[in-house]
Amino acid sequence: MIVCPACSHRNPEGAKLCEACGRSLANFVYRVCPSCGALNSAQHVFCHRCFAELALAEGEEPIPESTFVRPYTPPIVTLEEEVTTQAVHREAKAQASETGARPTSEALPGQTPSEAELGPRAAAPISEEQAVAPSMEGEMGEMPASTEEALSPLEAAESPEVLGGGPVGAAGVETPAVQVAPPDETQALTPEAAANPLEGLDDLLPFEPAVTLPHRPSQHVSAAPSTTEDYEAELFQQVAVERAPLQEGAQVVLPRTAQGLPQIGRTILYILVLLAGVLPLFTWGQMSSFVQPRESVLALVRTIEELPSGAEVLLSFDYSPTYAGELDPLALAVVRHLARRSVRMVVMSTKPEGIGLAEAIYRTITEESPDYRYGEHYVLLGYLPGQEAGLRSLNTALGDAFKIDYLQKRPLGELSATSGLATLKDFDQIIVLSDDSLTVQRWVEQVQAQSDIPFHALVTSAVEPLLVPYQRSGQLLSLIPAASGAVEYELAGSVKPSALFRSDAYAAFFVLLLVVALVTNALYARRGKRGS
């Protein structure tokens, strides 16, 4: 992370410009890793590359954000001041050549000679700590707060005095300084270069300037384990894996919780499940003679029987192929009943796979009743994305949610089954087939509550208990669990039977579960008596 020196915004690693203020981050103060030479942000304690400690001075705390060094911004120099400064500069050089002494500091534009030569900062040699890691100085409080007075570390690093060894950290490791070639003394330092030596090179330089440092062996955390660590790891492995030898005559007692279903028991159970599924193929629905349709099934059958020919019903196939085995027979029974009543069906889905399941159901219906045609008697609208928002849009305008149909890609107005439909209020009934309760809840909240259209939900048996409150409140006129509902519907609606044999399978499976429950407790009771 790079903290912007101007606004203190935290930018991601590698950012060249501040995300908040847009300023260049090239002048940011780095801390050089003593181990790998990577440049880290000033507030880093550990190197971002090799995780070596960045050698804080003894007792030194990581610098708070509020004390970050501000970049040097050159003062505005007028032409008159520029001329004066250059004159002073030439005079100082002449004096130096006369005396043979080297000026300790070059005056910058806007600085008076007294500031350049006698000022507390400008005149004094710039320390290495200032050049590389201000956080190590321990004197951050003395740094000038104003932007104009602050001295850029990179600018300071240009001074020949700062080149060489770095400061000595707490661990006695010398922190290397950034190696920068000494400036050409024949070239005067322009104000732009003083302000930002990397000006114009932002796009050429990566986040880490290409400063090469000689590799120094780290005295910090090493990735390679020591001999002691190897020995301890081996010992731990032995203790964790190897079992202690048992004493003579000792008996291994497993905890009771470890006594699970034995393999032979599991095999027997799986064979019984297989039989429960296969045997009904040969009994062909003998159990269906015992089936009595429940009230909610009878209510839906009555509703469909009372629909006039040409009535419009919206069906939403909101389930996945995972539950197709349970919901498909009920869907087929209801669609057959609606087709027999010559009801127009508009079909959609709020799940991407649902419309494929609907297509298969209607293919069967079309094969059974060739007079029942696509576009005239039924239309597949397709998948409606957006969940709640999608359902809300159905209330507003059907044409906004579905511009064209799913199979023929024609506008809804061109299909006779949908030509007179504008909103959901034009439908006589809504039937939703779903494998999860949230989908039905969305339909009730976003559609039924707004339009008061008679609403029916055909769901998986696992979902049924979660939707009973909506049925009791009257928002769902019928709530039918599909497992037993398909057989009940075929009987109540006198629809072509295709799910009757399933009643045998359900009965066999439920009986198996009952037997398992009873046998399980009998076995546990017997073991308990033995144990006591």
């Binding site: 539950y323 009973v468 398992v516």
Partner: protein
């Protein structure tokens, strides 16, 4: 401004759609419909972005020759084939064939395996350990028995007992969950509308 703009847009859009729910006015209705249409477009685009992300994820691992790269390759080929069947050859019936003869049977097979797991789990779940387990066992037995086609022959009270279980204790618990969820939804909505929370503009 950088933070203010998304918050302002979110509040205005949220209040507008909320007003559309309660007020019937041509302007509110039309703008609300456009906003909802935008949500649907975004949702569809999210699906597309998800596909791209999935492709990128597996392509990177295949290029690095990571473990199970073969399965990843099969996934990408299947995804590409289905996309081609759906987009390039929409009327050829290839998509219906893939759905009907590959996706549907595989999903149904996975669901059918649940029968074996349910019976195995019943071996442990129906064990009588304490009072709570006794209540669960009795309730399960009643509901199971009542779902048998010949449950009336066993006892005429079994279907009534099952109905009572669903209508009273189950409905009470479910209503509690629904009401709690609704209160939580209202609270979350208010926090977003009042800009207390703005998850759409994470810092």
């Amino acid at each position: 401004m950088r933070r203010f703009l998304p918050i302002a847009v979110a509040i205005i859009c949220g209040l507008w759609v909320l007003a559309d729910f309660f007020v019937s006015h041509p302007l509110i209705d039309s703008v609300g419909a456009k906003l909802l249409e935008g949500v649907m477009i975004l949702a569809a685009f999210a699906l597309f972005a998800g596909i791209l992300n999935l492709l990128g994820f597996h392509a990177r691992r295949i290029s690095k020759d990571q473990k199970d790269w073969g399965y990843r390759l099969v996934l990408m080929v299947a995804l590409g084939g289905t996309l081609i069947a759906g987009i390039v050859l929409p009327g050829s019936g290839a998509l219906s064939w893939i759905f009907g003869y590959m996706y549907y049977p595989l999903q149904s097979t996975m669901a059918a395996l649940l029968a074996f797991f349910v019976v195995s789990a019943a071996y442990r779940a129906f064990r009588l350990r304490n009072g709570e387990a006794l209540i669960m066992l009795i309730t399960s037995l009643v509901v199971l028995l009542a779902q048998l086609p010949f449950s009336n022959r066993i006892s005429p009270y079994l279907p009534l007992l099952r109905k009572w279980i669903l209508d009273v204790p189950v409905t009470a618990g479910t209503r509690g969950i629904i009401l709690g969820t609704a209160l939580g939804t209202i609270t979350t909505s208010l926090r977003i509308l009042l800009a207390v929370d703005h998850p759409y503009a994470q810092d």
